[in-house]
Structure formats: structure tokens, C-alpha cells
């Protein structure tokens, strides 16, 4: 085995170890350790990506001396490596952009705790991506949930605590459903590792025994992970959570945490339940409908908001709807579009959260439309970044949002029964997106009501500007050089089967 094959294991363990070590470090050192860890994970994940692209196969890595059905295992293929690379880029940029706010929003003595949470969150995301074992997935879902709660409430104002409680209740409901479906699956298959479990599921389907439990397992697994990622009827925790957390936490939560669960769901669909069984069970039709409704309702609610942070949060509801709509199409093209939209939304939503904070900084920290007028001139980098992010969400050519909308539309044409609904949904949602995003872009570039002092433009932190510019580059790369990424997603998805 090549040495590169160890890298997925190294990155998970490194992230966990940095979290443990940060408990005795002071805030600034914990910050350095965290940034080092994310960078190291980025380098290692891209090495794994290059390796799997070169060999064209995936490999499993046993965690210990015992082989597959007995011991734990992780697995790396093109899609896993690509997701890990993408997630670490976005994690790094979100931390960089929100860094100055972390140190003002969090009590000084508790900053190291913030970085413990980030480290362990990173390790759990990596484990969710690489896992080849259902119970390992559940353990790291737990870590992910608790870490996310901590990140929401660490700002320690009333809103943060209420948002954390809401998040905890909804998220634990999702975890509970996931655990119940996991135990049922174990009861009817006798396996926790993905490959033997899939064989057993195949045998069950072929023999026709345990039809009802299998259907319930598929439904509970989908609903549980959909609650945790905030699909439409379960979205009530999203606006407060994303709106009131510290900016770096909002960016991480909206762009990475919910996507980790979606990735896990896709992995379970392909590698355990068998995608054709999921399609024939009709559960994905429910995901399709709720995704479609979420696209419209999320956008309508976003238009009604007066607080721009909540507007961006409601836009997340709509975008999660897009992803589930793609999964619900039930074709390979739909799935590829959904996976591409995971990257698009992760890159764009974190860009929006970070650049919006740059705009609040120069508007006395206020977040309503009126106070934000003219902020695009007071902080040029953040203004341009926000405009780029907004255009990308609307689906402007050359930006990542355009490519994912194109892929969704192309995928819709291939599935005749759902074509009309998908295309109509896409069209309506795009118009609604344009209404609320372009309204804010017009706002930030119209003349301000009052004069802001010259020192206002200096209040914006430089790190935030750098992060905004890097986010724009990521978005342009996703938009302009999408073909290699789409090819990699296709290759990764075919490795899943």
C-alpha cells in the first residue's frame, strides 16, 4: 500500500488530536494550531485526490488489525477526496474571514474552547466523508451535533442560546431517527460495515423478506438526515441559528455541517441501501416534492425578511431544497447535479455570510436594508464579493451557480415524469432569488442616508478582505473550470456503486 493511502486516517486523527491538545492552549495558540490543522488536511486531501484520480479506483483502509466485517474501516475514492478537499478550503477561508469576530464575540478566556469545537467538527466532517462503517458514521454524527451546538451558543447572548436549543431539539430528533433506522438495518442484515451490509440488503430484496422494515429503514434514514440538514418542513431552526451565530460559525454551519449530512445520506443510498432500491421505494419522490416546495417557500420567506442575515439564512433553505430536488430526480445526472450544488452552495453561502459581515462592519454593525445603503462603497472588497455571491446564487453565467442550475435543468430533461415540475421550480425559484438578492445588491450600492466618517472604511479587517477575494476566486474556478470537477464527481459516483 502506498503511503498516500494513510492520509485520510491521518487527517481524521490529526483533527481530533489538535482538538484534545487545544484544551490546554491559550486562545491565540489554539487558533494557530487549528489553522495549521486545516491546512494540513487540505494538503493531504488533495494528495489523496490526485492519487485516486491517477489510479482510478477507490480503496478501503482498515482501522486496526481486523479485516472488513469485524473491524472498523474507512474508504477513500475520488468523490470522498474531492469533498474533503473542498470542505477544508471552505473551512480555512471561513475561519480566516471571521477571525477578528471570533475574538470579539467569544469571551477571551473561552476562545480556545471555540477552536476545540472547530477541530472536532472538522474531524467529524472528515469521518462522515470517509467512513465505511455505519456505526462510525453515527458516532461522528453525535460529535458533529454537539460541536455545532457549541459553536452556536458560544456567542453567549440570549439569541444564541435560544437558537442552540432549537437546533439541539431538531438535530437530536434527526439523530434519533438515524439511530433507530441503523439498529433496524443491523437487525435485518447483521452487518454494520457498508459492503457486507449492501450484500445482505441485496439478498433481502431478492428474496422478498423483510420488505416493510427495509422501507421503514430507508424512510427513517432519509427523514433523519433531512431534518439534520434542514430540508423544508424541518427548517425552523435554520434562520435563528445562522442569523445569530458568530460569522465564522454561521459560514461553517451553513456551508459545511448540513452538507456533511447530505453527503452521508448519498453515501448510505449508494453504498448500503442500493440506489435502485431507494428509487423503487418511492421515498425519493417525497424528497423531490419537499425539495421543490422548499425552493419556493424558502425564497418567498427570504423576500419577507428585514434582517439581511436572516434573508441569507432563508436562502439556505431554498438551496438545500435544490440539492434534495436533485437527489429526488432519481437519476445519475440528478445526483451529479446535487453533488455539484453541494460545492456551489458551500462556496457561495460562506462567501455571502463572510462578505455580509464586512458590510455590517462599516454600517455600525447594523444588518437591515436601510443601514446597509452605500456600504458597498465603504468596504469595496466585501461589496464586490457580496455582489459576486448574489449573482452566483441567482445563476449568472461564469459563476458556480449557473453551472449547477444548468446541470439540474439537463438532468430534469432526462427524467420525463419530473421534467415539468423541476424546470418550473427552477425558473420560479431563480426569479425569486433574483428579487431578494439583487434588491440587497442595489441597496448596498445606492447612496447612504447619512455621512459615515472616513475611519469607517478602516474598520473592516484585512483578513476579511483577503478571505472575500479568495472566495470569489473559488467561485470563479467552480464556474469557469467546472468540467474537470463534474468529471471527477461522475467518476466518484460510479466508484460508489
Amino acid at each position: 500500500m502506498d503511503f498516500v493511502c494513510n492520509f485520510p486516517f491521518f487527517s481524521i486523527i490529526l483533527a481530533m488530536f489538535c482538538g484534545i491538545l487545544s484544551s490546554v492552549l491559550k486562545g491565540p495558540w489554539a487558533k494557530r494550531l487549528c489553522l495549521f490543522m486545516v491546512t494540513a488536511v487540505l494538503v493531504m486531501s488533495s494528495a489523496v485526490l490526485a492519487y485516486t484520480m491517477k489510479t482510478g479506483t477507490s480503496y478501503t483502509y482498515s482501522m486496526g488489525h481486523f479485516p472488513a466485517p469485524w473491524g472498523n474501516e474507512i474508504r477513500a475514492g475520488v468523490l470522498e477526496a474531492l469533498t474533503a478537499t473542498g470542505f477544508s478550503v471552505i473551512m480555512l477561508l471561513s475561519l480566516l474571514g471571521g477571525m477578528s469576530h471570533i475574538f470579539t464575540d467569544v469571551e477571551e478566556t473561552k476562545t480556545n474552547l471555540f477552536f476545540i469545537l472547530v477541530d472536532l467538527l472538522m474531524s467529524s466532517l472528515l469521518a462522515l466523508i470517509y467512513t465505511n462503517d455505519l456505526f462510525t458514521a453515527y458516532v461522528f454524527v453525535e460529535i458533529n451535533t454537539i460541536a455545532a451546538c457549541g459553536l452556536i451558543m458560544i456567542k453567549q447572548d440570549g439569541h444564541g442560546i435560544v437558537a442552540a436549543i432549537r437546533y439541539m431539539v431538531m438535530s437530536l430528533l434527526g439523530s434519533g431517527m438515524f439511530l433507530i433506522s441503523l439498529s433496524m438495518l443491523y437487525d435485518i442484515t447483521g452487518h454494520l460495515l457498508m459492503e457486507p451490509a449492501k450484500e445482505a440488503v441485496g439478498a433481502i430484496v431478492a428474496s422478498g423478506s423483510y420488505e416493510v422494515p427495509l422501507l421503514v429503514v430507508i424512510a427513517l434514514m432519509s427523514v433523519g438526515l433531512a431534518i439534520k440538514s434542514g430540508l423544508y418542513p424541518f427548517h425552523s431552526w435554520i434562520p435563528e441559528t445562522y442569523g445569530y451565530a458568530t460569522p465564522a460559525a454561521s459560514a461553517i454551519l451553513s456551508s459545511l455541517v448540513s452538507k456533511g449530512y447530505i453527503f452521508l445520506l448519498i453515501k448510505v443510498f449508494y453504498r448500503v441501501l442500493g440506489y435502485e432500491n431507494v428509487v423503487s421505494s418511492k421515498v425519493i419522490n417525497a424528497l423531490f416534492v419537499f425539495g421543490l416546495v422548499g425552493m419556493i417557500v424558502g425564497s418567498v420567506k427570504a423576500i419577507k425578511q428585514t434582517d439581511t442575515r436572516k434573508m441569507i439564512a432563508y436562502s439556505s433553505v431554498a438551496q438545500i431544497g435544490y440539492i434534495y430536488m436533485g437527489i429526488g430526480l432519481g437519476t445519475k445526472a440528478g445526483m451529479a447535479a446535487a453533488v455539484f450544488h453541494i460545492f456551489t452552495h458551500a462556496a457561495t453561502k460562506s462567501l455571502l455570510f463572510i462578505s455580509a459581515v464586512g458590510l455590517y462592519e462599516v454600517s455600525d454593525g447594523k444588518a437591515d436594508y436601510r443601514s446597509l445603503r452605500g456600504s458597498g462603497y465603504r468596504n469595496r472588497a466585501a461589496g464586490i464579493a457580496f455582489a459576486v455571491g448574489a449573482l452566483s446564487m441567482v445563476g449568472f453565467p461564469m459563476l458556480s451557480g449557473f453551472i449547477s442550475k444548468l446541470m439540474f435543468a439537463t438532468a430534469a430533461v432526462q427524467s420525463p415524469h419530473k421534467m415539468v415540475a423541476t424546470i418550473l421550480g427552477l425558473a420560479v425559484s431563480t426569479i425569486l432569488n433574483a428579487i431578494y438578492f439583487l434588491r440587497l445588491v442595489i441597496s448596498i450600492y445606492s447612496p447612504a442616508e447619512r455621512e459615515y466618517g472616513a475611519d469607517m472604511s478602516h474598520q473592516a479587517s484585512r483578513k476579511l478582505k483577503v478571505a472575500s477575494l479568495l472566495f470569489i476566486i473559488v467561485n470563479l474556478v467552480l464556474g469557469l473550470f467546472s468540467q474537470p470537477i463534474v468529471n471527477a464527481i461522475d467518476a466518484g459516483l460510479s466508484m460508489f456503486v
Binding site: 484534545i20 474552547l113 437487525d187 422494515p213
Partner: protein, 325 residues
């Protein structure tokens, strides 16, 4: 060209105002009332010790269902929907149970080669006569490391929420003072409690240590033994107060023990995972099954897990009690 007189009322102007954010965000959403005279209770400055916000009053105004029909309707529908959802979920799950394999039947899918190997070769491969310990700390040690990290991150979250630091805001300092008042009654010097705990605490500690050290031989292990030790610590604290426990257990001790235990677990298991995945010999002797010094890494790992669990339990208790250790 014809100029409209009612431009202010035109749709285009309203759209323009909406885009500019000129519409008052509270317009039409809030009932605006002039204050009832000068002696309004809300405007009265609070006296010392009186809370500034009367929470009951705020709640009764915010959730004024008598005047807010929409909210009242929403609440009824919400409650009905949640009850219906729960009942449906319970029904579906109970209905599924009927179709699941019969409990205890030998032909069940779970009685396959996986559990067979755990039972037949478990002692030989892990050196632990307790299969469960062998399974969680050797076959599936990565999951167990994850579980210890769950405890660690839960403790971190409680620290975030409950620890009172000097840099905290004024309100919290006040709260802290109150908590300290609670501590002034410490130790309560309850003679019965003290005498009983004099007898019980050493026994509890010894029992906990026994459970941890024999985790690979008999039922038990790090999680259960750690919980026993943690409860012993809490009993001692209740009997003798913080002054005595602080002589040997402060936040520093907590951090050092947790760090040492988790670091050892992390490094030891990383070594074992690395050698296992690369098909190398780990070189850790398994010893004779049944002896106290046997089963390779399982005994030290049990000790680590036990330490983490005991410290976390004690830390939870003290953090909830007084916001610090």
C-alpha cells in the same frame, strides 16, 4: 407627458421604496400605544436586587393570545400537528417491529460470521476474556475513541455554557456572587452524611478501580467504572464541600488528566491502526488470557476511558453547581 399627482401612491414608487429599504420594518406589524401615564411600571428603574425584566410580564405581552388570533390559531395547529406526528411515528415503528426477526431466534440475520468470530476467536485475538471489552476496545476501537471524544466535546460545551470567568459581563459577575453565597453554606457539616461517606467513599473508589482494572476479565470497563468513581467524587464533595476537594481536584487537574488520557488513547490507537492497516506486526504482547496484565492495549485504554469519564462526570456536577471547578 402626463405627470401623475399620486406618484407617492404608485406601484413603481412603492417598489422603489422597498428596494431601498425605506419601508419601516415595523409598519403594520406592531401595535403602537402611548404610555399609560407617567407612573408606568415598565419605566420604573429597578431597585437593588430587583430584576430589571419581569419575565412573566414580558411573556404575557409577547404571547398575548387573547389579542392575537393568528398566534392562537398557530399554537393550536402546531400542538395538534406535533401530537399527530408523534402518534404516527410511534404507530409506524410499532407496526415495523411486527415484521422484524423474532427476538432470540437462532436463524436471525445477526447470528452470522461476525458475531461467531467475536465469540469463537475473541479471546485468542484480543486476549480479553470479556468479549464486549474486546469488541469495543480492539475490534471496533475507532468507534470507542469517537465515543470518548463525544464525552470530551460535551464537557467542552458545558464549559462554554457554564464556566464563569472574570472577563464575563457585569450581570454574570452578579450571578457569580450569588453562586458564591451558595458556597458560603459549605461545608454543610451534616454529621450523618459525613460519617456515612467516610465509610462509603473509599469503598466506592475501590469498587470503581476494580471495575476498570478488570474490564477485560469480567463485566465492566472504563465507562462503567469511571461513572462509579465520578459518583464517589460527587458524594465526597457533597459531604465535605469544595474546600476539601479543591486540595486535590481543580480545573487544572481536570484538564491535565483529560489531556493525558486522551493523548495516550489517541497515540496508542493511532499506532495500532497504522500498523494494522499497513499489515505490520504491532509487537504488543497479548499475555495469557485471564491474567490481570493481559490483552495488550485494552487495560491501559480502559484506564484512560475511566479517567475521562470520572473527570467529566465530576466536572459536569461542579459546573452546574457553581460555574467552575
Amino acid at each position: 407627458m402626463r405627470l401623475r399627482d399620486d406618484y407617492e401612491e404608485s406601484r413603481w414608487h412603492r417598489l422603489e421604496k422597498w428596494v431601498d429599504g425605506d419601508i419601516d420594518p415595523l409598519e403594520g406589524r406592531m401595535e403602537i400605544k402611548p404610555p399609560d401615564g407617567e407612573k408606568d411600571e415598565n419605566t420604573k428603574l429597578p431597585e437593588d436586587g430587583e430584576p430589571f425584566f419581569d419575565e412573566e410580564k414580558i411573556n404575557s405581552v409577547v404571547y398575548d393570545t387573547a389579542h392575537n388570533k393568528e398566534l392562537k390559531l398557530f399554537r393550536i395547529i402546531y400542538r395538534l400537528a406535533s401530537v399527530l406526528l408523534c402518534v404516527t411515528l410511534i404507530g409506524v415503528l410499532l407496526w415495523t417491529v411486527v415484521y422484524l426477526p423474532e427476538f432470540g431466534s437462532p436463524d436471525n440475520p445477526i447470528n452470522n460470521e461476525v458475531s461467531a468470530r467475536y465469540i469463537e476467536k475473541g479471546v485468542e485475538e484480543t486476549g480479553a476474556t470479556n468479549f464486549v471489552t474486546g469488541m469495543i476496545l480492539d475490534y471496533r476501537a475507532f468507534d470507542t475513541f469517537g465515543e470518548s471524544c463525544v464525552l470530551f466535546i460535551a464537557a467542552t460545551c458545558v464549559l462554554v455554557l457554564m464556566r464563569l470567568d472574570n472577563s464575563s459581563s457585569k450581570e454574570k459577575m452578579k450571578k457569580k456572587k450569588e453562586e458564591e453565597n451558595d458556597r458560603l453554606y459549605e461545608p454543610k457539616n451534616d454529621l450523618i452524611l459525613q460519617k456515612v461517606s467516610c465509610v462509603l467513599v473509599p469503598l466506592i473508589f475501590i469498587f470503581g478501580i476494580y471495575i476498570i482494572l478488570n474490564g477485560h476479565l469480567s463485566p465492566g470497563g472504563g465507562f462503567s467504572g469511571g461513572a462509579v468513581i465520578g459518583s464517589g467524587l460527587i458524594l465526597y464533595l457533597n459531604a465535605f464541600g469544595f474546600k476539601k476537594t479543591e486540595r486535590f481536584f481543580t480545573e487544572k487537574t481536570f484538564r491535565r488528566i483529560t489531556l493525558a488520557a486522551l493523548t495516550f488513547y489517541c497515540l496508542a490507537k493511532s499506532y495500532s491502526f497504522f500498523t494494522g492497516a499497513n499489515h505490520m506486526e504491532s509487537g504488543i504482547p497479548l499475555g495469557t488470557p485471564g491474567a490481570i496484565l493481559s490483552s495488550g492495549l485494552i487495560l491501559p485504554l480502559n484506564i484512560c476511558v475511566g479517567l475521562v469519564v470520572a473527570c467529566t462526570m465530576y466536572a459536569f456536577y461542579t459546573l452546574f453547581r457553581k460555574g467552575g471547578m
